[in-house]
Structure formats: C-alpha cells, structure tokens
Symmetry: C2
C-alpha cells in the first residue's frame, strides 16, 4: 500500500474557527493531516513573523485521526514551526483556510491565510489558500467542499510550478449554484480607508481603522469580476515581487553626483 501524503493545514482565523475544521475534514481523504494554526485570530497579519518573542505550541484535540497544534504566533510562524520543528521536512501539500472572508485582489498581501500559502511556496511546498467570501460566523461552508476537493485533487495530480501557490476565493452560498471555477489575475484595487476617532475616559484620542475596498479594474479576467459573477476565482500567486518590466527604464537614470 502506498504511503499516504502528509498534508499541513493552517489558517489565520485560529485553530477553533469553523473554516479550518472543514478543510481538515476534507484533507483526510487525501492523506495524513497535520494542523498547526494560530491559537487566536491572526487576520490581516500579512507575512509577519515573530522575532522579538518566543513561540509556544500546544497540542489540541481537534478531530479524530488528526494531529493538531495551536501556536502562539502568526500564520507564517505556524508554517515555519511545522516544517522545521514538528515535521523536520516538507509536507506533500499545504492548505490554508478556509478563511472567513474574501482575499481577492490586493488582499493577498494583507491576508495571513495567503501569507501562509506564500511561505509554503517559498519552502517549495505546493500550497493553496482557500477563502469563503462571507464573514458571518454562521456562514455555510457546505458548497465549498466540492471546490476544495476538486482543486486539491488537481494540485496533487499536476503539482504547482516552483515559486507559485494558489489563491482560491469562493463566493458566499446563495440561491444560485456556483458558475464554475475561473483562473484569474489579481484585480487592481485599493482600500479607501477612514479612521473613526474616539476619546477614551481620560479624554485621549484613539483611532479605529475602517476601510472600503475600491475595485479599480474593468477587466473580465480578474478575481473581482469572477467572484462578482458567481465563479470561484483561482489566482496563481508568486513571491517574486520584481517589476521586471521596469528594469530597462530605471537603467536610464543618471546617478552621477
């Protein structure tokens, strides 16, 4: 009998979030599952790692037949601890999520879920981040299961090109069925932020970040368009951030003096 592949599961909503439970359940059909996830919510932590403090790992009884640890650090810390401390080797696959909320467009940079997948890619592990575009705590994940199975099966069959991972966003469950899966590029957009300033009981100001995502992209090949039109978006993501097309122009600059 073949040895079953080892699958690492993480997220940024924390090890007790409903989404990671769905993901771990689905992964049991594909291999042996190890869960290493933050012990508290770590949304919007991006690619942060913990260098000024130590890390703790706590065994967690998550579900039958799954080895699971809560970690005091960020999602990227979880990947590092899994690879270099717990496994001391590379798993066959890393899956992150299922995130409670959207990670389309530039949110790939803020997202702890996606940063864990990017860290996996840096380590040479085929990695996928899954997000459900619904923040509600009672959000239904039922329709996400077949998507997770289809994309995971494809990644295990075809592999991913070195240096890349996948950013998968699944529309919220609505009356209409999903239209299918579309491979997309990351849409151009930005956060139009706003701060709500309040005063504490001592009269000192403090500020809450609030923002609205602004889609600036008219393309029909983007993750924003796809998810707005009922499709699951799959964006191949790379960690080479070089704007290669700018190198020639910058070489014309005069740096004398």
């Amino acid at each position: 009998m073949d040895k079953r592949p080892l699958i690492l599961v993480t997220n940024d909503d924390g090890i007790f979030a409903p989404g990671i439970r769905v993901l771990a359940e689905e992964m049991r059909a594909f291999g042996d599952v190890l869960v290493v996830a933050p012990d508290k919510p770590q949304s919007a932590m991006g690619h942060a790692i913990t260098i000024h403090h130590f890390l703790r790992l706590h065994p967690v009884d998550l579900m039958e037949g799954v080895r699971a640890f809560g970690c005091s650090g960020t999602p990227v810390d979880c990947v590092k601890l899994a690879v270099y401390h717990i496994i001391q080797g590379r798993p066959a696959l890393l899956v992150s999520g299922i995130n409670h909320g959207s990670n389309i467009s530039i949110n790939v940079l803020y997202s702890g879920t996606m940063s864990a997948a990017v860290e996996g890619a840096m380590e040479g592990i085929p990695s996928i981040g899954f997000s459900l575009m619904d923040h509600s705590i009672e959000a239904s994940f039922t329709h996400t299961r077949s998507v997770v199975r289809s994309i995971t099966g494809n990644v295990l069959r075809h592999g991913l090109t070195r240096g890349t991972c996948l950013n998968v966003n699944i529309p919220a469950e609505i009356a209409a069925p999903l239209q299918g899966i579309r491979v997309c590029r990351q849409a151009w957009g930005f956060w139009e932020d706003d701060f709500e300033t309040r005063k504490d009981p001592a009269g000192k100001e403090y500020h809450w970040l609030k923002g609205r995502f602004k889609d600036m992209d008219q393309g029909e090949d983007t993750d924003v368009w796809a998810t707005n039109n009922g499709y699951v978006s799959v964006v191949p993501v790379q960690f080479d951030m070089t704007a290669h097309h700018e190198i020639a122009a910058l070489n014309t600059w005069d740096h004398a003096g």
Copy 2:
C-alpha cells in the same frame, strides 16, 4: 516660489532608530517632512495591519522643522494614518527606512520597511524603501546619504510607474568605496530556519526562531549579487503578485466532478 512637496517618512525600527533620523534629515532638502513611524520596533511585521485593536498617535519632538508622530501600530498602519487621518491626501513621496539590516531577496515580503513602501505604491504614492545592510546599533550611515539623495532626486524627477516602488539596499560601510548603483531583480532564496527550544522555570517548552538566509540564485542580475559585490541594489517592486505565466497551464485542468 513653488510649494515644497510633502514627503512622508516612516520605518519599521521605530521612530527613535538612528536610520529614520538620517532619512528625515536628508528629506528636508527636498520638501516639507512629515514623520509617522511606529513607537516601538516593528521589524518583520510584513504587511500586517491592526484591525482587532485601536491605534494611538503621539506627537514626537524629533528634529527642528519636522512634524513627527509615533504610532502604536505597524508600518502599514502608519502609512494609512498619515494618508487618511493626518494629511487627508497623498504626499508627493513616501520614503521608508533607513532600515537597520538587509531587505534583499525574499526579505521584501517579511520587511515592515518594504511593506510600508508597497502600501504607498498601492495608494498611488511614489515610494522608496531604503535599507542599510548592517544590524549593528553603531552602524555608520554616512555613506548612505549620497545614495539616498541620488535615488530620491531621480524619483522626484522621473516619477515611478503606477503600481511599483523601489527596494534599495546599501552595503555596510567598509574600507572600499561603493561601486555604484545597480538596478536588479529580487534573488531567488529562502530561509533555512531552525528553532531553539528551551524550558521555562515551570518546565514548559518554548521556541525561538533562528534562521539562515540561503541564496539559491546564480544570476549576476540579482540584489544578492550586487550587494555582495559592493553595489547598491535597486529592485523595482510591484504589488501584483499574479504569476501571469501560469494562467495558461492552470486553464488545462479538469474541474469536472
């Protein structure tokens, strides 16, 4: 007389680090300077933002003629507070650093210094991250000043293409003079991590992250090669993380069932 451009200065080592003082001093020749920087070290915070807690801003008396605020959040929070709360508009330029330590290769993703510059690019602000490849607290910044002036002057003259910023790494001051400035791509590398496990007085384990950066790239057009050979590296960085070259291959996958 022309209105002087407004220049936003931030970093990730904190508002009292020597590197940000050098940067703010040099910027006074180019325009009116506003400093908004973390009130404590925020290295390796990547693109993290603060969404589960409020933010504080404290006026700081940093230097003559410069308006300065310490912020309780991350480098990216500082950019958002500057743009959407303090200025309520876009500065002409954002400069981040001078970081105490290298941000070459994939460190662009972990770096708070560079994430602040990337956030600037997202906001449509010409943005530059500067790093000195010397962690020492007594590191000399003398040789960085002419580099900062040259690159800043070029960015103000030529602008930067929308969606891009610059990652500038300056070798530590050594006997030999700098060889010049080279436009580069981000080198391929990864962190070979290691955890040092200790026991606390109660006998419970904790783990310190330790790592060694492994350069996996033989190219002579990379930031690793340039800085190893005495050059200042300038990498144009984009926040579109799409691996565009992978889209065609992913479209051949079968998602039936």
